[in-house]
Symmetry: C2
């Protein structure tokens, strides 16, 4: 799994933990739903500015997106 896929998987996990749909997340970080979908599918070499928008909308520190385990 490359970094794009890892980050996408993690964002999806965190979004689902928040019971947010892709549409909810896209709306709250002012990004397109299809963009969120492509990030979660590991298709995007996302930049830190957009990553920060997503971390704010997920209400997690940016570092959390790069930490592997979320299971409590």
């Amino acid at each position: 799994m490359d970094i794009k896929q890892k980050v996408g998987k993690k964002i999806k996990e965190l979004r689902e933990l928040n019971n947010q749909s892709q549409k909810d997340l896209a709306y709250s970080c002012d990004l397109d739903r299809s963009y969120i979908a492509s990030v979660e599918n590991g298709k995007r070499n996302i930049s830190i500015v957009n990553l920060e928008k997503i971390s704010i909308a997920l209400n997690v520190p940016l570092s959390q997106i790069f930490i592997n385990e979320t299971k409590p």
Copy 2:
């Protein structure tokens, strides 16, 4: 300070902790020295693929680049 500046500052801190020059870091992550300089100056909206290259060359986990304090 925006996210580009925070990440740049952190990369510089970690590079200096490793006693690496920008040239050393650029060489070991196969990126241009001027690119490293612009990242450290907060001028680059760096992507996760390049960020991963830099974290590997700095020998730190990617999450470390987003954690604020490095003082032991």
